[in-house]
Symmetry: C2
Subunit: 358 residues, 2 copies
């Protein structure tokens, strides 16, 4: 049996990836010009599928970049002139903040300890804040921000643009896109695709701000919102994109739509409950995130109680079950289990059984 | 028979791509963490193969980006504070210049008409120029700069950093990397891979300049030379890269080394001679580039004399031969024929035969 990857990205490939890749090779899709009608049709079809999956308001545009990392940079270059505010509760939300500092923005930060989430009733955002950056799901710590809390931010703070990192939460997170301004993800997590593509969902309000800033500061050249949007209007990209990943994304999202996004969300929750229930009752593991409301359904982080995490990882690997190590300083003491749509309920059953027998 | 793509990128896939892709899927390479030893080993092996192929001096580092377009931006952000000089003879060399302007650099330009090359004995580069950007092969016009001329620039102008776009010339162009400072390409042209990966070859002199500028200006955050190099020293990347393309690049370069780079270069020249000889004697076509020394062996551009280029393209397509259209304003009157390693001598025979019968 081939190993099953419960790693938080790159991750288990979605079960239909191999067949779509073969079909793409057979049709020579990856030799077609990115200026051809065939590519425009592919972009249009991917756009339609993503809109359906995310229930995306019509005003949103969908751009492709090389990575989600790039979108941290491009969003700050295009949507802020002076400042940004960051909710930091792990390594990835902190990297968004770092990027703002590198770009010379004045930054305000609300930081909570690793493993904790935010209490939205107990913080303020300064008047004049241009953009609020937050991670709906912190891949490093396994903390999620409930979408209701994200939606509430719009009511509490209607002025700043709300930029949501859904890198390891999509497509599970049922975000109401009318209550945020942009979101972004990479495809090697919840979509179960090979890495190398970032997807940026951008509303009209962001584009108006980008238009104001255009000409007043450097906005990323070919990767400015201006340039991306001009190209998007013709289902084109400023430079040759990762057509292979766009092709796979199109087909995997269509497969997800066929399975039903509600079904995928229910399965994700049911698998997550199974994993957290096991962690709660285990003597060897504990759920790292204390507040059940902030426990990520898609990236489950566990403290390993009485032995090195590496030993657990290695034992599981012998059985063909690959889980992720803890992030950074938590490498020795934690494991991370990705619960993305590509891992089935049977896969999670098998993992829990193996964890129980350690 | 599957169509043969003579398009200048995305292009015909290298013949062994499908088998390597299948092997990568079978080994679940695209699920492995980019922080794993397996990925480090892959990067190390790709690095070794590229060094052998390009006869790269040891001092060079090899970084991965999302595209060659991104390298225009990152090279200017990291290697120039004030100014750059650009040799412009087509759309892609002009885009490098555009990027310098967007970044607010003072730019000097030597521009020649579309379809012409440069006479290196008849221009000057101002003292104090930080970087000279040039395209060894202009994909838009089919003009190449002989590598001897590029090498001579170093003797004529020893001070500025020499940045060479080898996007559609690599791996054919036998550049002496000790006579330039950096070069870059994307993999969907001469390497015959799916698009989505840029490769940046950077010497010590560039890194010293980047170190001087670091902290004094914005250098690209995660994609600064500082960040890329720190990661490179451990065969790591700042963020999740296009592992699929890196894996394919590794194997295709090893295949090219097995075939012999000298053999590939000789075959490229022999196929190019066949194509240009045909264009010279044809009544329907003329070589667009007048000076034989500046005719690109890898992207052959032809004027179509007495009918719309679209008609020629369409007739060839019916026979399973896909050639590129002319670039931009030349769409109606030219065709472009990519002569990359992925198209065989038999493929070129078949194309010339079909062209002759039009």
């Amino acid at each position: 049996m081939a190993p099953i990857y419960f790693t938080p990205g790159p991750a288990q490939l979605y079960p239909t990836v191999a067949q779509h890749l073969q079909a793409g090779l057979d049709k020579q899709v990856f030799s077609q010009s990115h200026r051809s009608q065939a590519f425009k049709d592919l972009y249009r079809r991917t756009d339609a599928a993503l809109r359906a999956l995310f229930n995306l308001p019509e005003e949103y545009a969908i751009y492709f970049t090389g990575s989600a990392t790039e979108i941290w940079e491009r969003s700050l270059q295009n949507l802020t002139a002076q400042n940004s505010f960051h909710l930091v509760n792990g390594s990835f939300s902190k990297k968004y903040l770092d990027h703002a500092k590198w770009l010379g923005r004045q930054t305000e930060v609300l930081q909570v300890p690793f493993g904790e989430g935010f209490d939205i009733d107990h913080f303020q955002i300064l008047e004049g804040t241009e953009l609020v950056g937050l991670a709906q799901n912190e891949t490093s710590s396994g903390v999620c921000m409930p979408v209701q809390d994200i939606h509430a931010l719009r009511t509490l703070f209607p002025d700043p643009l709300l930029s949501v990192d859904i890198v390891s939460g999509a497509p599970y997170a049922a975000l109401d896109f009318s209550k945020v301004d942009m979101a972004f993800f990479s495809v090697q997590k919840g979509f179960g695709l090979p890495a190398g593509l970032g997807v940026w969902l951008v509303n009209e309000r962001c584009r108006r701000k980008a238009t104001q800033l255009e000409g007043q500061q450097y906005t990323g050249g070919h990767y400015s919102i201006k340039s991306l949007h001009e190209q998007f209007l013709q289902f084109q990209t400023p430079c040759t994109p990762n057509v292979l990943d766009i092709y796979l994304l199109c087909h995997i999202v269509e497969d997800m739509l066929a399975a039903g996004i509600d079904t995928i969300r229910r399965q994700t929750e049911s698998k997550a409950i199974q994993l957290y229930n096991f962690l709660e009752e285990s003597n060897l593991f504990k759920p790292f995130v204390q507040n059940p409301l902030h426990r990520s359904p898609t990236v489950v982080v566990a403290d390993v109680v009485d032995r090195p995490a590496a030993q657990v990882i290695s034992k599981l690997k012998e059985q063909g079950l690959v889980v992720g190590s803890g992030y950074g300083n938590y490498k020795e003491t934690q494991i991370r289990i990705a619960n993305f749509p590509a891992v089935s309920e049977a896969d999670v059953d098998q993992l829990v059984k193996a964890l129980r027998q350690l």
